[in-house]
């Protein structure tokens, strides 16, 4: 298990290196006049040239990339071209916000998808059809439309929540909960749609197995059979889908944070990418890439815990 974990971490580092190199090249190719982009139309040519010189953007690509890499391996991702804030501060100040949304959405979608999937698999008939229709709708409706709908109904219409903004959990737990509820729900809809189908299918397959009949014949209650034994067997594929959805939720957070004006990684991703703020974009590529690598590794380890057959010896 330890060697497996180490191998995965090393391959994750190599993957991050490849992704960041490609990203840097793409950003370089699309850079244009960086100083003009930062300073706008008012600035004189002399000021723009001075800005470009200060940023080092007039140097060759390989020089700039090696300089960035040398600093990045020490955790120094430079300073935002547009806000002058150190990139590591930009990311760390927002990481917890996005993680709270994504973890919240993961948990919510996991729980609801499990409940709905088990219900559909056990009841079949109309319940199964309802869940499948709801699942298709969850796939079909874009996340941003769901977010706008939630804002208009529950925030602006009913006034149950504030439409924008984020409250730190340390400032007020109820305020934090109020500020993340709608975004988490908006993020979860699509993920529920994906996971519920997997749970439903896996539970149906498991319920057909001989060992389930054996457990029933031993007098175990149906709930105990399903929730203690069947789910554990069906959980593996569902967890794999959940891992994929986690990555998708990180991407979905971009839209949701923009609509709800939440100061997370998603919001700064939109701003930095549209502005061409290379230091911030590169920091985000590395940070989000690292999150994906770690999450996938954790899911693999959990899979091994749940299903001994899936463990790496």
């Amino acid at each position: 298990m330890l060697s497996f974990t180490l191998r995965r971490l090393v391959s994750g580092v190599i993957l991050l290196f490849v992704i960041s190199s490609l990203a840097y090249l793409l950003l370089y190719l699309g850079a244009g006049n960086v100083g003009r982009r930062i300073l706008g139309s008012q600035a004189s040519e002399a000021t723009v040239a001075l800005k470009n010189q200060q940023l080092g953007v007039d140097e060759p690509l390989i020089t700039r990339y090696l300089s960035w890499l040398a600093h990045a391996v020490t955790g120094d991702f430079g300073t935002s071209w547009f806000t002058s804030q150190p990139v590591d501060q930009t990311i760390t100040s927002r990481l917890a916000v996005t993680i709270s949304l994504v973890i919240g959405a993961t948990i919510l979608s996991g729980v609801i998808a499990t409940v709905l999937g088990v219900w559909a698999a056990r009841r079949r008939g109309w319940a199964d059809r309802v869940v499948q229709v709801v699942s298709v709708l969850g796939f079909a409706i874009p996340g941003f439309l769901i977010a706008i709908f939630l804002v208009n109904v529950f925030a602006l219409g009913l006034g149950w929540f504030k439409p924008t903004g984020y409250v730190q959990i340390a400032t007020s737990f109820s305020g934090w909960l109020g500020s993340v509820t709608l975004p988490i729900v908006a993020l979860s809809i699509g993920a529920i749609a994906a996971i519920v189908q997997q749970v439903r299918g896996s539970v149906i397959d498991a319920l057909r197995q001989d060992w389930v009949r054996t457990l029933r014949s031993r007098g175990l209650s149906e709930n105990r059979v399903v929730f203690k034994h069947v789910l554990r067997n069906a959980g593996g594929p569902a967890l794999a889908v959940l891992a994929v959805q986690f990555v998708g939720l990180v991407g979905g957070a971009v839209i949701v944070e923009q609509i709800f004006a939440i100061p997370g990684l998603g919001q700064v991703s939109v701003t930095a990418t549209s502005q061409g703020d290379v230091p911030v974009v590169m920091g985000l590529v590395v940070a989000i890439g690292a999150i994906v690598v770690i999450v996938n590794l954790l899911i693999d380890l959990i899979q091994g815990f749940l299903n001994p057959k899936a463990r790496v010896s």
Binding site: G40, T47, T79, R94, I148, G165, G178, A261
Partner: protein, 506 residues
């Protein structure tokens, strides 16, 4: 057995709990002690040396005092400088400064600190560093007297000193590692670094030792950046901002329905920059009759409706209404007359029109370029577009790459600024550096003449460039500031955002 009823009760209780979770995120909508501003641009830098202005002005106004202040109508009044005067040829400005001002780090504001700030601004990377391009030197005569020496007269200098060029930062903070993100000024508020999320929300606390408490109206000021119109509109409708600028005019009805008051200002003009006045790239454009034809080709009412939802005023001049050079007549010097346009083209030797290459960019609205193309096609001018990213578009205009181009430009409060930005042979948006002796003559009189001479020259300059078709302005769009029912606000002539001390509780 799954207890559905129990689950339903738990779910209902949870929903009611969450519904009570409406604590205000990132500030309230201005409830007496807190002002929440909606801003559409985050600050590039919070240092006085590199500070931006316009939509970025509130961020640094909160923490820095400037040498001079401007009234809402643009009139300059004393602030850190109590009086000032020029020498005979307007190349030396002497200022008397207050002796009772301290920065929040305890250091004293002196003439030497002021001089250092001015030189740093001139040599820095503020978008407006060129405001002080004529600053040859700044030095302290003594602690309360500052002498500014110019390489040539600059009629807008005192206006610049009421803006970011005149903002004063503590000299002891110049070398701070966080100088760009943690400002040290003498102003009405201080930045709360712990509660600030750079790029999203900037929180300021009242400076308890401020020397001008009459200009402090709140205990706390929160400035929230909104990058898109949806989240901004939601925040306004949700009562989460006291005052805000708007990104476009498409949601005004919803904003007023939410109880907000609209305060429109016209600080920009939209239209064509007809830059190739010598016919270098496009020989037809070198003929004034062709440029006049371009002006007759556009239905300005239709352009205003299409581009700005009808909010604004049609015009054929680029000087603002607040300028002494502005003329009501010049708002309608050219009517919509395609036949007249064709006649002028024929007189210029182009009875069948001509081909024209123009830049386009999604940043200006892709559909808008189709309208321009159609209106010019109606008079025989065939437009071919080359699509550019918006920043490359601006670079191309400044570099004189295209003979004619769509642009939206600011209207500055002084004639000198308008000339330096758009008209003078060295102006950014005179990309072909057209050197017209008549134009340069008028600009020289604005620069060095007495007040009456400068006013006459400004009027004459405006008429001349309209008659010569240097531009084809269509309209001045109305930018709407919105304020809630508990907040009073005065808009600022020549600026994209009201000045922070002109926003107060009702």
């Amino acid at each position: 057995m799954f207890h559905w009823k129990r689950a339903a009760v738990i779910a209902t209780a949870a929903a009611l709990t969450l519904a009570g979770c409406s604590a205000s995120p990132s500030g309230s909508g201005g409830e007496g002690d807190t002002l929440t501003l909606g801003v559409i641009q985050p600050p590039n830098s919070l240092s006085a040396q590199n500070a931006g202005w316009a939509n970025q002005s509130p961020y640094t106004q909160a923490v820095y005092d400037s040498l001079i202040q401007a009234d809402p109508d643009g009139k300059l009044v004393p602030h850190l400088a109590t009086e000032w005067s020029y020498n005979d040829d307007n190349t030396v400005l002497t200022m008397t400064l207050r002796d009772d001002v301290e920065f929040t780090d305890g250091s004293k504001f002196t003439a030497d600190v002021a001089a250092q700030n001015l030189i740093r601004f001139r040599d820095g990377t503020s978008p407006n560093a060129s405001f002080l391009v004529n600053l040859a030197d700044a030095k302290a005569v003594d602690d309360t007297h500052l002498e500014i020496t110019l390489s040539q007269a600059d009629p807008a200098l005192t206006t610049y000193l009421s803006q970011n060029a005149g903002q004063m930062e503590s000299a002891e903070a110049f070398d701070n590692a966080d100088v760009e993100t943690n400002p040290v000024g003498s102003g009405p508020y201080t930045l709360n670094v712990d509660e600030t999320v750079a790029g999203t929300s900037y929180v300021y606390d009242k400076n308890p030792d401020y020397w001008l408490p009459e200009q402090q109206h709140y205990e706390k000021v929160i400035m929230n950046f909104f990058g898109d119109s949806t989240s901004l509109l939601n925040a306004i409708q949700g009562g989460q901002v006291s005052v805000s600028t708007t990104i476009d005019n498409t949601s005004l009805a919803q904003i007023t329905a939410a109880g907000y008051t609209l305060s429109p200002v016209e600080n920009n003009w939209w239209g064509l920059i007809i830059g190739d006045r010598d016919g270098t790239i496009s020989p037809p454009i070198g003929d004034p009759k062709v440029r006049q034809a371009l002006n007759y080709a556009f239905d300005r009412d239709a352009m205003l409706q299409a581009f700005a939802a009808g909010e604004g005023t049609t015009t054929t001049q680029i000087f603002p209404t607040s300028s002494t050079s502005y003329s009501d007549d010049l708002d309608s010097y050219y009517s919509y007359d395609p036949e007249k346009a064709k006649e002028l083209l024929a007189e210029a030797g182009y009875p069948d029109g001509f081909a024209l290459t123009m830049p386009s960019s999604a940043g200006f609205g892709a559909s808008n370029f189709a309208i321009i193309q159609q209106q010019l096609a109606d008079v025989g001018i065939t437009v071919t577009y080359e699509d550019l990213q918006v920043n490359d578009y601006i670079n191309a205009l400044i570099a004189g790459t295209y003979p004619v181009a769509l642009m939206a430009l600011q209207t500055d409060p002084t004639d000198w600024q308008v000339a330096q930005f758009s008209i003078d042979k060295t102006a950014n948006f005179n990309g072909f550096h057209t050197d017209d002796p008549t134009v340069q003559g008028y600009i020289s009189q604005i620069q060095t003449g007495d007040e009456a001479t400068a006013e006459e020259a400004g009027k004459a300059l405006n008429e001349y460039i309209v008659e010569q078709g240097w531009f084809a302005p269509w309209f001045r769009p109305a930018l709407n500031f919105v304020s809630n029912s508990t907040t009073a606000m005065e808009t600022q002539v020549g600026n994209s955002y009201p000045y922070i001390w002109n926003i107060e509780p009702k």
